[in-house]
Symmetry: C2
Subunit: 421 residues, 2 copies
């Protein structure tokens, strides 16, 4: 085992050094070169379709014990693979953030100061067993001038390696080095620890995407900057002024449109003065196949709910299950969200404008919304084009992360010989 | 010793919990309340002047073994203390970043999306033995709605505690809790480790400001997001097209205006085709009291230099010492900066516009400049008002960090019942 760990450490360090070389090439490459590389990746994915689908079939065969929802995320079909290629093409067509001036001003002494977007550097991407993310993440990194080291869930390793081979073909087609997009070639979980340690300074940013076990690992082990894409424990609060019809439609959509996305509703908070709306909402959810877990007061209104435990308020179900709590007013609702939420997406349903603004001000989540479904937590729905996911970090980028959010900036100062007095 | 460590851990955790309560009060306080608190801090500093100057005299007496430059940073005079009060007043008058909308747009489905600046949360500030930073950092945090835990160099503890008492008086005057601005009441270095661990999730961001030993400690121990304000190993590169008069004036100003600031020049890179300019520059520096350390080729042109060692290229002198290297062209210069620089501030002196743009593109530092002194690396000189310092981090905020850079943002989405198709 010691030998195996030693070898892995060695391999990961080599990956890191190669990524730095890849970034050196990438950050000086033109926008057109990077655009051409991503477009060529799309063509290569189509060209490699048979090999990718074969590898995916092998991944699925080995993953027969996985939950159905996870098998579904892992599965590629010819249609889904064409979707991957089209997604690459759409990223190649996105505006290039690198080199954009976001501000420029002249000082009284004549110094001309510009703030210019630049790539971040080498990004370590840790994600679930979803083969399509391999392509999306690589494309967004190349669009924003970053080199990337990809580490997807081990169940998708065969699929991801064949997709990666196609991505490298695209890079080479455009004259970029293969080291700009690398994949961790092993399912060994120690690779995640190595990435969280930063690979001897080779990694500038780790983007972890996943659930609670990854959260805990990141908190314990990360030695580098992290842009967390972690749980979405999303809430809706029904205010007494809520329109009952709207409240029912929003809860149903937020919970049931897709239960496996991070913007799916997990806990419903109903104001005690709006509790009369709960039976109707509960009936609609039950009819749609959703199981309900309620606190004592909710159970007194809808007796066929299961009693909720303390753990329920902390659980991202990603399943047709909803926890329901009756709360004594807006502040009790925002206190619950502060205590149990994950800072992802939380909303209010209310017609009272003062209540809406109070909720939007009090709740400190990446996305706060009023009278809209939490499932709008999505880069595409925000108008950002493709996205890596929804950041639950507090710094650098919160909410949907697209190519622009994968850049940093530098100040460029042009003078004519100014010295400082 | 075990008992002492146990007590410290307990005290630091209590500080963290209090800071979270302080932040809860602060983030919902009005802009006017925070403005009034900072203005009242200025008055309280004036009111406590005698006690602060007494404490500072005691700090200085105990610090007699410190280097003169460090004693000077530690020293307060009635004039300097009035400067501290005036600096607080200027921060109270700065525009409030909290609540600013930096973008707002409407989606085709009618969703109204705004990106709004919000405070970061609880900031842990670790800095040198400079009493004035205690006031400046607290004021910038309150201006931006953040609670702060201050931990200055132990040599300044008496001064900082009396200044802190004045700051708390200002908070209370405006009706804000004392827990919004706390100071670590001990010189125990374990407090820094506790802050870097995040105090059980109480700290959202640590801002370390200091030299190499702090850099290494942060890298080894930080478990929370860090906005590093670390070394400034700044370079100027003299291109063959440089105007010799301008080059001499810029080098002299960048090195000698103030040798103890992070934007001071530490290494001069002279193009081999501009080497004829070196003797004149060296003579001007020597006349100004600067010691020179050169590589072999520099020594052949200016024989009275000391030979430079490999360590010199990695040293932030903060003293009247300059290392000098002859380089074979612009790429060799930017390669040297990439290998040895700290990503703070680096510049070129050149009349050739293509060389200027190539340098500005190739060098990936927080501030890159052309034909200007590196000592312009300063929030005031950029027009930002007061500053915490110059960030050498790559994410969230690079370069000068003022009140605006101490905020994050959230997305506020206002709908009329939209569900996601």
């Amino acid at each position: 085992m010691d030998d195996a760990c030693g070898d892995l450490a060695l391999d990961m360090a080599a990956l890191g050094r190669a990524a730095r070389a890849g970034f050196d090439a990438l950050r000086l490459a033109s926008s057109a070169t990077r655009t051409a590389a991503i477009a060529a990746m799309a063509q290569a994915v189509r060209g490699h379709a048979a090999a990718i689908l074969d590898a995916n079939a092998a991944d699925l065969e080995a993953a027969a014990r996985l939950a159905p929802a996870m098998q579904d995320r892992l599965r590629l079909t010819p249609e889904r693979l064409e979707g991957v290629a089209q997604s690459l093409e759409s990223v190649s067509a996105l505006p290039d953030p690198v080199g954009q001036e976001t501000a420029r001003w002249t000082r009284p002494n004549g110094l001309d100061i510009a703030r210019v977007r630049t790539p971040i550097g080498v990004i370590g991407m840790i994600y679930e067993a979803r083969p399509n993310v391999t392509a999306d993440a690589a494309a967004l990194c190349i669009r924003s001038g970053n080199a990337v080291i990809l580490r997807g869930g081990s169940e998708s390793l065969r699929s991801s390696r064949t997709i990666h081979a196609a991505l490298v073909e695209g890079l080479k087609h455009a004259g970029l080095p293969a080291s700009a997009v690398q994949i961790v070639p092993t399912a060994d979980r120690a690779a995640v620890g190595a990435m969280l340690s930063g690979l001897d300074g080779a990694i500038d940013l780790v983007i972890p995407r996943g659930g609670r076990s990854l959260v805990e690992r990141v908190q314990a082990e990360a030695r580098v900057p992290v842009l967390g894409h972690l749980e979405g424990l999303c809430h809706l609060y029904i205010h007494p002024s809520a329109d009952p019809e709207m409240a029912r439609a929003l809860v149903l959509n937020a919970k049931m449109r897709r239960v496996s996305v991070c913007g799916a509703l997990e806990t419903l908070l109903v104001d005690v003065a709006a509790a009369g709306q709960l039976p109707g909402i509960a009936a609609a959810l039950t009819a749609a196949g959703c199981a309900l877990r309620g606190d004592r007061r909710a159970l007194s209104l809808v007796p066929d709910m299961t009693p909720a435990s303390e753990a329920d308020w902390r659980t991202e179900y990603l399943a047709p299950i909803l926890s329901v709590r009756i709360v004594d007013g807006l502040e009790a609702a925002t206190d619950h969200i502060a205590a149990y939420g994950s800072g992802h997406t939380d909303g209010i349903v209310a017609q009272d404008a003062a209540a809406v603004e109070a909720f939007l001000a009090r709740v400190d989540s990446a996305i706060v919304l009023a009278n809209a479904s939490t499932q709008f937590a999505d880069g595409g729905e925000f108008g950002f084009g493709a996205e890596i996911g929804i950041s639950t970090a507090r710094l650098h980028a919160r909410g949907p992360v697209g190519a622009e959010q994968l850049t940093t900036f530098k100040y460029v100062v042009r003078g004519t010989g100014q010295t400082r007095p």
